[in-house]
Protein backbone atom coordinates (compact mmCIF):
# COMPACT_ATOMS: atom_id res chain seq x y z
CA UNK A 1 0.00 0.00 0.00
CA UNK A 2 1.25 3.43 -0.88
CA UNK A 3 2.05 5.94 1.82
CA UNK A 4 -0.65 8.34 0.64
CA UNK A 5 -3.30 5.58 0.84
CA UNK A 6 -2.11 4.68 4.33
CA UNK A 7 -2.44 8.27 5.37
CA UNK A 8 -5.99 8.49 3.97
CA UNK A 9 -6.96 5.28 5.82
CA UNK A 10 -5.61 6.58 9.11
CA UNK A 11 -7.36 9.88 8.62
CA UNK A 12 -10.67 8.10 7.90
CA UNK A 13 -10.19 5.90 10.96
CA UNK A 14 -9.83 8.97 13.18
CA UNK A 15 -13.03 10.51 11.81
CA UNK A 16 -14.98 7.26 12.27
CA UNK A 17 -13.99 7.02 15.93
CA UNK A 18 -15.01 10.62 16.53
CA UNK A 19 -18.36 9.89 14.86
CA UNK A 20 -18.79 6.83 17.10
CA UNK A 21 -18.08 8.98 20.12
CA UNK A 22 -20.53 11.67 19.01
CA UNK A 23 -23.25 9.11 18.35
CA UNK A 24 -22.66 7.62 21.80
CA UNK A 25 -22.88 11.06 23.39
CA UNK A 26 -26.11 11.75 21.52
CA UNK A 27 -27.63 8.46 22.64
CA UNK A 28 -26.68 9.00 26.28
CA UNK A 29 -27.97 12.57 26.15
CA UNK A 30 -31.33 11.42 24.79
CA UNK A 31 -31.53 8.60 27.36
CA UNK A 32 -30.63 10.97 30.19
CA UNK A 33 -33.22 13.54 29.16
CA UNK A 34 -35.89 10.83 28.95
CA UNK A 35 -34.88 9.43 32.34
CA UNK A 36 -34.87 12.84 34.03
CA UNK A 37 -38.16 13.74 32.43
CA UNK A 38 -39.79 10.52 33.68
CA UNK A 39 -38.38 10.92 37.17
CA UNK A 40 -39.33 14.62 37.26
CA UNK A 41 -42.95 13.85 36.45
CA UNK A 42 -43.13 10.81 38.68
CA UNK A 43 -45.88 11.22 41.25
CA UNK A 44 -47.25 14.48 39.84
CA UNK A 45 -50.59 12.88 38.98
CA UNK A 46 -51.12 11.21 42.39
CA UNK A 47 -50.05 14.45 44.12
CA UNK A 48 -52.61 16.37 42.08
CA UNK A 49 -55.27 13.80 42.96
CA UNK A 50 -54.35 13.96 46.65
CA UNK A 51 -54.52 17.76 46.60
CA UNK A 52 -57.97 17.62 45.01
CA UNK A 53 -59.05 14.98 47.50
CA UNK A 54 -57.83 17.15 50.37
CA UNK A 55 -59.84 20.11 49.01
CA UNK A 56 -62.87 17.85 48.70
CA UNK A 57 -62.40 16.61 52.27
CA UNK A 58 -62.08 20.22 53.41
CA UNK A 59 -65.50 20.98 51.93
CA UNK A 60 -67.00 17.81 53.42
CA UNK A 61 -65.49 18.41 56.87
CA UNK A 62 -66.79 21.97 56.91
CA UNK A 63 -70.22 20.89 55.76
CA UNK A 64 -70.46 18.19 58.40
CA UNK A 65 -69.16 20.52 61.11
CA UNK A 66 -72.02 22.92 60.47
CA UNK A 67 -74.50 20.22 61.45
CA UNK A 68 -73.02 19.90 64.92
CA UNK A 69 -71.82 23.31 66.03
CA UNK A 70 -74.01 24.71 68.77
CA UNK A 71 -76.04 27.85 68.34
CA UNK A 72 -77.27 29.52 71.51
CA UNK A 73 -80.72 31.05 71.12
CA UNK A 74 -80.30 34.71 72.15
CA UNK A 75 -83.82 34.76 73.56
CA UNK A 76 -83.27 31.83 75.86
CA UNK A 77 -80.71 31.19 78.53
CA UNK A 78 -80.93 27.45 78.08
CA UNK A 79 -82.03 26.71 74.57
CA UNK A 80 -79.26 25.45 72.33
CA UNK A 81 -79.44 23.97 68.90
CA UNK A 82 -77.20 23.17 65.99
CA UNK A 83 -76.39 25.93 63.52
CA UNK A 84 -78.18 23.93 60.85
CA UNK A 85 -81.30 23.75 62.98
CA UNK A 86 -81.23 27.55 62.97
CA UNK A 87 -80.97 27.42 59.17
CA UNK A 88 -83.83 24.96 59.07
CA UNK A 89 -85.99 27.29 61.20
CA UNK A 90 -85.20 30.20 58.90
CA UNK A 91 -86.23 28.16 55.87
CA UNK A 92 -89.49 27.19 57.57
CA UNK A 93 -90.25 30.93 57.79
CA UNK A 94 -89.47 31.32 54.10
CA UNK A 95 -86.30 33.28 54.88
CA UNK A 96 -83.75 32.09 52.39
CA UNK A 97 -81.26 34.86 53.18
CA UNK A 98 -80.51 33.17 56.52
CA UNK A 99 -79.74 36.49 58.15
CA UNK A 100 -79.33 36.05 61.87
CA UNK A 101 -79.50 38.65 64.61
CA UNK A 102 -76.25 40.46 65.17
CA UNK A 103 -76.08 39.64 68.86
CA UNK A 104 -75.59 35.93 68.30
CA UNK A 105 -72.08 34.65 68.97
CA UNK A 106 -70.20 35.12 65.69
CA UNK A 107 -68.85 31.57 65.72
CA UNK A 108 -72.31 30.09 65.81
CA UNK A 109 -73.65 31.57 62.60
CA UNK A 110 -72.92 30.35 59.11
CA UNK A 111 -71.26 33.61 58.06
CA UNK A 112 -69.24 33.87 61.29
CA UNK A 113 -68.01 30.31 60.95
CA UNK A 114 -67.05 30.66 57.30
CA UNK A 115 -65.18 33.89 58.03
CA UNK A 116 -63.42 32.19 60.93
CA UNK A 117 -62.40 29.25 58.76
CA UNK A 118 -61.13 31.60 56.08
CA UNK A 119 -59.09 33.59 58.60
CA UNK A 120 -57.49 30.42 59.93
CA UNK A 121 -57.10 28.30 56.82
CA UNK A 122 -56.71 30.80 53.99
CA UNK A 123 -59.35 29.04 51.90
CA UNK A 124 -62.57 30.78 50.92
CA UNK A 125 -65.90 29.17 51.75
CA UNK A 126 -69.37 29.61 50.33
CA UNK A 127 -72.66 28.27 51.61
CA UNK A 128 -75.75 28.36 49.40
CA UNK A 129 -79.09 26.71 48.88
CA UNK A 130 -79.92 24.91 45.64
CA UNK A 131 -83.73 24.86 45.53
CA UNK A 132 -83.81 22.66 42.44
CA UNK A 133 -80.77 20.67 43.50
CA UNK A 134 -78.67 22.09 40.69
CA UNK A 135 -78.62 25.87 40.55
CA UNK A 136 -77.52 28.08 43.42
CA UNK A 137 -80.10 30.58 44.63
CA UNK A 138 -78.27 33.91 44.60
CA UNK A 139 -80.22 35.28 47.54
CA UNK A 140 -79.02 32.46 49.78
CA UNK A 141 -75.30 32.90 49.17
CA UNK A 142 -73.17 33.33 52.29
CA UNK A 143 -69.47 33.57 51.48
CA UNK A 144 -66.29 34.37 53.33
CA UNK A 145 -65.28 36.48 50.34
CA UNK A 146 -67.24 39.76 50.54
CA UNK A 147 -67.12 40.07 46.75
CA UNK A 148 -69.14 36.90 46.25
CA UNK A 149 -72.70 38.05 46.70
CA UNK A 150 -74.46 36.61 43.67
CA UNK A 151 -74.28 33.52 41.50
CA UNK A 152 -72.83 35.55 38.62
CA UNK A 153 -70.05 36.92 40.80
CA UNK A 154 -69.38 33.42 42.09
CA UNK A 155 -69.05 32.13 38.53
CA UNK A 156 -66.89 35.07 37.50
CA UNK A 157 -64.49 35.09 40.43
CA UNK A 158 -64.22 31.45 41.39
CA UNK A 159 -62.52 29.16 38.94
CA UNK A 160 -62.95 25.56 39.99
CA UNK A 161 -64.25 25.28 43.53
CA UNK A 162 -64.51 22.01 45.41
CA UNK A 163 -68.02 21.48 46.69
CA UNK A 164 -69.95 19.13 48.93
CA UNK A 165 -73.71 19.08 49.11
CA UNK A 166 -76.35 17.59 51.35
CA UNK A 167 -80.05 17.74 52.01
CA UNK A 168 -81.56 19.67 54.89
CA UNK A 169 -85.06 19.06 56.20
CA UNK A 170 -87.16 21.80 57.72
CA UNK A 171 -90.69 22.15 59.10
CA UNK A 172 -93.45 22.91 56.63
CA UNK A 173 -94.36 26.59 56.40
CA UNK A 174 -97.70 27.65 57.84
CA UNK A 175 -99.23 27.45 54.37
CA UNK A 176 -98.16 23.80 54.27
CA UNK A 177 -96.60 24.17 50.85
CA UNK A 178 -92.88 23.43 50.61
CA UNK A 179 -92.64 25.22 47.29
CA UNK A 180 -93.47 28.55 48.95
CA UNK A 181 -90.63 31.02 48.42
CA UNK A 182 -89.23 28.55 45.90
CA UNK A 183 -87.07 26.94 48.54
CA UNK A 184 -87.77 23.26 48.82
CA UNK A 185 -89.61 20.10 47.98
CA UNK A 186 -92.15 18.03 49.83
CA UNK A 187 -90.88 15.16 51.98
CA UNK A 188 -94.07 13.99 53.68
CA UNK A 189 -94.50 15.77 56.98
CA UNK A 190 -91.37 17.85 56.34
CA UNK A 191 -89.85 19.80 53.50
CA UNK A 192 -86.32 19.44 52.27
CA UNK A 193 -83.86 21.43 50.23
CA UNK A 194 -80.35 20.85 48.95
CA UNK A 195 -77.54 23.08 50.07
CA UNK A 196 -73.94 23.21 49.01
CA UNK A 197 -70.67 24.25 50.55
CA UNK A 198 -67.80 25.16 48.26
CA UNK A 199 -64.15 25.86 49.03
CA UNK A 200 -61.52 27.49 46.87
CA UNK A 201 -58.21 29.26 47.11
CA UNK A 202 -57.53 32.71 45.70
Amino acid sequence: MKTVDKMKLMHTKGQAEIMDGLILMLITAVCSVVLLSISGNYGSLPVQIYEETYAQKLAQNTLLSLYHITDQDPNSQFYKKSVMVAVSNSLAKGDITLKTPADITPRSTISGLLEGYYAELGWHFMFAILPDGVMIDSSSIIASDPDITTLDKFKENVGSPYCASAALTYPKPTSGDCADADIGKDAGSMCYTIFELCVWQT
Binding site: K6, G14, G21, M25, T28, L35, S39, Y42, Y54, S65
Partner: protein
Protein backbone atom coordinates in the same frame (compact mmCIF):
# COMPACT_ATOMS: atom_id res chain seq x y z
CA UNK B 1 6.97 15.66 1.38
CA UNK B 2 4.34 12.91 1.34
CA UNK B 3 6.14 11.20 4.21
CA UNK B 4 6.08 14.47 6.10
CA UNK B 5 2.31 14.82 5.64
CA UNK B 6 1.82 11.25 6.82
CA UNK B 7 3.72 11.87 9.99
CA UNK B 8 1.79 15.01 10.57
CA UNK B 9 -1.58 13.14 10.21
CA UNK B 10 -0.46 10.40 12.57
CA UNK B 11 0.49 12.91 15.17
CA UNK B 12 -2.82 14.85 15.03
CA UNK B 13 -4.92 14.83 18.19
CA UNK B 14 -8.10 14.15 16.20
CA UNK B 15 -6.79 11.17 14.28
CA UNK B 16 -6.15 8.87 17.25
CA UNK B 17 -8.30 7.12 19.89
CA UNK B 18 -8.05 9.87 22.47
CA UNK B 19 -11.09 11.94 21.32
CA UNK B 20 -13.38 8.94 21.25
CA UNK B 21 -12.12 7.77 24.65
CA UNK B 22 -12.82 11.23 26.07
CA UNK B 23 -16.30 11.22 24.57
CA UNK B 24 -17.05 7.74 25.89
CA UNK B 25 -15.92 8.76 29.39
CA UNK B 26 -18.01 11.96 29.25
CA UNK B 27 -21.04 10.04 27.97
CA UNK B 28 -20.81 7.38 30.64
CA UNK B 29 -20.27 9.96 33.40
CA UNK B 30 -23.20 12.03 32.16
CA UNK B 31 -25.44 9.01 31.95
CA UNK B 32 -24.47 7.77 35.41
CA UNK B 33 -25.10 11.19 36.93
CA UNK B 34 -28.51 11.28 35.20
CA UNK B 35 -29.36 7.92 36.73
CA UNK B 36 -28.31 9.22 40.15
CA UNK B 37 -30.40 12.37 39.73
CA UNK B 38 -33.37 10.34 38.52
CA UNK B 39 -33.09 7.99 41.51
CA UNK B 40 -32.94 10.97 43.89
CA UNK B 41 -35.98 12.46 42.14
CA UNK B 42 -37.87 9.17 42.46
CA UNK B 43 -37.11 8.89 46.17
CA UNK B 44 -38.14 12.51 46.88
CA UNK B 45 -41.36 12.22 44.93
CA UNK B 46 -42.18 8.84 46.44
CA UNK B 47 -41.79 10.28 49.92
CA UNK B 48 -43.90 13.31 49.01
CA UNK B 49 -46.69 11.14 47.56
CA UNK B 50 -46.69 8.95 50.67
CA UNK B 51 -46.94 11.95 52.98
CA UNK B 52 -49.80 13.46 51.00
CA UNK B 53 -51.63 10.14 51.02
CA UNK B 54 -51.23 9.99 54.80
CA UNK B 55 -52.70 13.50 55.12
CA UNK B 56 -55.74 12.59 53.04
CA UNK B 57 -56.20 9.47 55.14
CA UNK B 58 -56.01 11.58 58.28
CA UNK B 59 -58.56 14.03 56.86
CA UNK B 60 -60.92 11.12 56.19
CA UNK B 61 -60.37 9.74 59.68
CA UNK B 62 -61.17 13.01 61.38
CA UNK B 63 -64.14 13.58 59.09
CA UNK B 64 -65.73 10.57 60.77
CA UNK B 65 -64.82 11.98 64.17
CA UNK B 66 -66.79 15.20 63.70
CA UNK B 67 -68.58 16.10 66.96
CA UNK B 68 -67.26 12.93 68.59
CA UNK B 69 -63.81 14.16 69.45
CA UNK B 70 -62.90 15.58 72.83
CA UNK B 71 -59.56 17.27 73.45
CA UNK B 72 -58.93 15.12 76.52
CA UNK B 73 -59.45 11.89 74.52
CA UNK B 74 -56.88 12.92 71.98
CA UNK B 75 -54.38 14.15 74.57
CA UNK B 76 -54.67 11.07 76.74
CA UNK B 77 -53.95 8.79 73.79
CA UNK B 78 -57.14 6.84 74.27
CA UNK B 79 -57.19 3.37 72.75
CA UNK B 80 -59.31 4.53 69.82
CA UNK B 81 -57.01 7.38 68.87
CA UNK B 82 -53.88 5.41 69.53
CA UNK B 83 -55.03 2.67 67.17
CA UNK B 84 -56.33 5.14 64.58
CA UNK B 85 -53.07 7.06 64.42
CA UNK B 86 -51.05 3.85 64.64
CA UNK B 87 -52.86 2.60 61.56
CA UNK B 88 -51.76 5.68 59.58
CA UNK B 89 -48.21 5.31 60.89
CA UNK B 90 -47.96 1.67 59.87
CA UNK B 91 -49.76 2.00 56.54
CA UNK B 92 -47.72 4.93 55.28
CA UNK B 93 -44.52 4.58 57.27
CA UNK B 94 -44.73 8.13 58.59
CA UNK B 95 -44.88 9.75 61.99
CA UNK B 96 -48.09 11.60 62.77
CA UNK B 97 -48.55 14.59 65.04
CA UNK B 98 -52.06 15.94 65.61
CA UNK B 99 -53.06 19.27 67.10
CA UNK B 100 -56.66 20.09 67.94
CA UNK B 101 -57.82 23.60 68.68
CA UNK B 102 -61.06 25.52 68.93
CA UNK B 103 -61.82 28.40 66.62
CA UNK B 104 -63.18 30.54 69.45
CA UNK B 105 -60.34 32.34 71.14
CA UNK B 106 -62.23 32.16 74.44
CA UNK B 107 -62.00 28.38 74.41
CA UNK B 108 -58.41 27.98 73.27
CA UNK B 109 -56.97 27.10 76.67
CA UNK B 110 -59.53 24.43 77.46
CA UNK B 111 -59.68 23.09 73.92
CA UNK B 112 -56.09 22.69 72.79
CA UNK B 113 -54.81 19.13 72.70
CA UNK B 114 -52.10 17.23 70.90
CA UNK B 115 -51.30 13.63 70.16
CA UNK B 116 -47.99 12.08 69.20
CA UNK B 117 -44.48 13.43 69.28
CA UNK B 118 -43.96 16.84 67.67
CA UNK B 119 -41.74 16.77 64.60
CA UNK B 120 -38.08 17.64 65.13
CA UNK B 121 -36.90 20.96 63.73
CA UNK B 122 -34.78 19.26 61.12
CA UNK B 123 -37.54 16.99 59.78
CA UNK B 124 -39.34 17.71 56.55
CA UNK B 125 -42.93 18.17 57.66
CA UNK B 126 -46.11 18.27 55.62
CA UNK B 127 -49.13 19.73 57.43
CA UNK B 128 -52.77 20.26 56.64
CA UNK B 129 -55.53 21.82 58.68
CA UNK B 130 -59.23 21.31 58.28
CA UNK B 131 -62.41 22.14 60.20
CA UNK B 132 -63.83 19.77 62.76
CA UNK B 133 -66.51 20.19 65.41
CA UNK B 134 -65.21 19.62 68.92
CA UNK B 135 -66.96 18.56 72.10
CA UNK B 136 -65.44 20.37 75.07
CA UNK B 137 -64.37 18.28 78.04
CA UNK B 138 -66.74 20.00 80.42
CA UNK B 139 -70.01 19.82 78.49
CA UNK B 140 -72.20 17.42 76.57
CA UNK B 141 -74.51 20.12 75.30
CA UNK B 142 -72.11 22.23 73.31
CA UNK B 143 -70.14 21.49 70.21
CA UNK B 144 -67.68 24.11 69.03
CA UNK B 145 -66.06 24.92 65.75
CA UNK B 146 -62.56 23.56 65.83
CA UNK B 147 -59.59 23.04 63.63
CA UNK B 148 -57.44 19.99 63.45
CA UNK B 149 -53.88 20.14 62.18
CA UNK B 150 -52.23 16.94 61.08
CA UNK B 151 -48.49 16.92 60.50
CA UNK B 152 -46.71 13.99 58.97
CA UNK B 153 -42.98 13.50 58.78
CA UNK B 154 -40.51 10.71 58.28
Amino acid sequence: MVQSLGNKGQGSFLSGDIPSIIMIVISITFFLSSIYMAMTNFEDKKSDVTMRAALVEAASTFLKANANIRPSDLASNSEYWTLTLQKIRITYGVEVYVELDCLDSALHDSCYATSGEPPPDTAEVLSRRFPISVKPDNSDLDVYAGLIKVSVFI
